[in-house]
Amino acid sequence: MSALKRHPSLVVMFALALIFVFIVPQVTELYIINDMTVFAVMATLALSLALVWGFGGILSLGQSVFFGIGGYVYAITVLNTGESTIPILLGVVVPMAFAAVLGYFMFYGRISDIYLAVITLTVSLIFYHLIVSTSGGQWRIGKSPIGGYNGIPGLPPINVPGDPSARLGFEGKYYLSIIVLFLTYFGIRWLLATRFGRVAVSIRENEARTELIGYDARAYKLALYAIGAGVAGLAGVLYANWGGFISPVVFNIFFTAQIIVWVMVGGLGTLVGPMLAAVAIQYLVTQLGAAATSEIKAGLTIFGMRLDLKDFLDSNIILGVIFIVFKQFIPKGIVPFIRDWFSERRTHGRRQAESGSPAE
């Protein structure tokens, strides 16, 4: 019981992890398990930005680049070797190395936050253009075509290390993804509790002061950025594994915007918020995609132009509206909003008790 009192969130998350690993697969249909696998992957991706932006204060608008590199590196190497252990490692290490190089130029140049936002977004735009331009047979690495806009289909699932014939099925993919998600969560919690994590957070709070104490903020930011890239790369590997497929859509601007929305809506500086928001928004987008193709007749005609309501269920419009509305009205995100609300009520209640109203 004392553990519950000291670290209530850790205990709750551990209980949830046990439920999702041991109970949920027993009582759920296979197609829902399949959906939950991709939700877990997206939640892992959300955690990577939640770490980098929420705790490191680095507004990386191109987090999807690392996700995409992870997925592509995994896809290309697994098609060439046929065995998945080394491709998984490369899918984590290559994005980290790329982040380290890019981060070196950004952090050691000490560019401003707004420049960093612009550069990271530009990197993702240009990756998209680059990959899309690789259609045609001449663009291949070893046995694997890059495939341009069509991406790389037909990826074999992850196998048991050393045994290429023992491949994961739907359930195996689910177990792997959900375990990675919870391990990432606990790993980040641990990282933030270490000396490294505390310095990183203090840089977010006040960079100049942290440097005056004697820490090199550039190195800490660079390391945190690379760790975030590794997590995103791992999520990319699991994504490619989930669908057996990777395409340049992951470098697309809407994909990267989604990640930002998860963290923003869930709450900056929390881990649970972005995870939940990733699942909820992913679910919402899927449902709205289904609604947009259904028979909704509402709409109006302006200047002879027919505007159907269902057309406005366009995911760009929804993302755009979420962005602007949240920035104007709930800038901190939902989890901090609820937390503030509760703590306000508690202090309010305490104040009333202290004033000693005789009516109670």
């Binding site: 140049g109 612009v118 057309d311 929804i318 962005f323």
Partner: protein
């Protein structure tokens, strides 16, 4: 010799189009330290205005030089009033809100106008250079870029508003204390920046196929130019366009335009390591 002339004109064209698509963004950034992430969609709006109005029977040049800048400029004023001003000084919030606006504009454009794949024939015929032919429109774009840059120089250097704008840029608090209505200066700056974006989108319309996502093909280059140029709008845009335009065009000649864009990005990333505040962070600091 003729080939060298053609290459020279192509490089000049690359520089001119880079300057055109970046200037509006640079002016807003220089004045307010705000990066408008919906800049690409402002260009898209200028393009669609020109395309739709000229297809509806309006004179192409009127649509290009009057309708598009005016419409996009007024839209910019509305955006400044409703979004930018409420978040002024909060960098992350401004980035995210304008990015949300960008997605919203793409969405609205694709449900209203749709993927309107109508390209127009570039007017002005072609010019013979020895054995090569170069489109007359290439020269037209270069001329427009020179005129626009000259116009902005004149406006900042010699008009009363230019004086107030420069003062506000250097020290907003002091300008306000001396009686300058800085709110209005910001609004007018945003109008001018947006109108120039609309004009750029309009001028490039005959060369591209306008679609709701056309902004993406401009925005990476515009961002890089503004970051490379730094906060001094005019000299920054000119110097960064000259540098990046030549680099990307030469690489594009040797390989493909996409690799040219990658070279542009790499050049910019190296540049900001050496000059973190862009070219004008060290050179031309007292320029316009």
């Amino acid at each position: 010799m003729d080939f060298a002339a053609v290459i020279f004109i192509q490089v000049l064209f690359a520089i001119a189009s880079l300057a055109l698509i970046s200037l509006g963004l640079a002016i807003i950034f220089g004045m307010m330290r705000v990066i408008n992430f919906a800049h690409g969609e402002f260009l898209m709006m200028g393009g669609f205005t020109t395309l739709l109005l000229s297809n509806a029977g309006m004179n192409l040049w009127v649509a290009m030089f009057v309708a598009a800048p005016l419409l996009v400029g007024l839209f910019g004023v509305v955006v400044e009033r409703l979004i930018i001003r409420r978040l002024y000084g909060r960098i992350f919030e401004t980035v995210l809100a304008t990015w949300g606006l960008s997605l919203l504009m793409i969405g609205v454009a694709s449900v209203t106008v749709g993927y309107y794949q109508s390209t127009m024939q570039a007017p002005l015929g072609s010019v013979a250079i020895g054995n090569y032919r170069e489109s007359g429109y290439t020269f037209f774009v270069i001329a427009v870029a020179i005129l626009v840059l000259g116009g902005v120089y004149f406006g900042l250097r010699f008009t009363r508003f230019g004086l107030l704008a420069r003062g506000t840029m250097q020290n907003p608090a002091m300008a306000a204390a001396l009686g300058v209505n800085t709110g209005r200066v910001y609004a007018v700056t945003f109008f001018v920046g947006s109108a120039l974006s609309g004009l750029a989108g309009a001028v490039l319309t005959p060369l591209v196929s306008v679609s709701p996502v056309i902004g993406f093909s401009y925005i990476a280059r515009a961002f890089i130019t503004v970051i490379g140029g730094g906060a001094v709008a005019l000299s920054g845009t000119i110097s960064a366009s000259a540098l990046f335009g030549s680099i990307s065009q030469f690489v594009a000649f040797a390989t493909t335009p996409v690799v040219g864009e990658v070279a542009l990005l790499i050049a910019a990333i190296i540049l900001i390591r050496i000059l973190p505040e862009g070219i004008t962070g060290r050179f031309f600091r007292r320029g316009l």
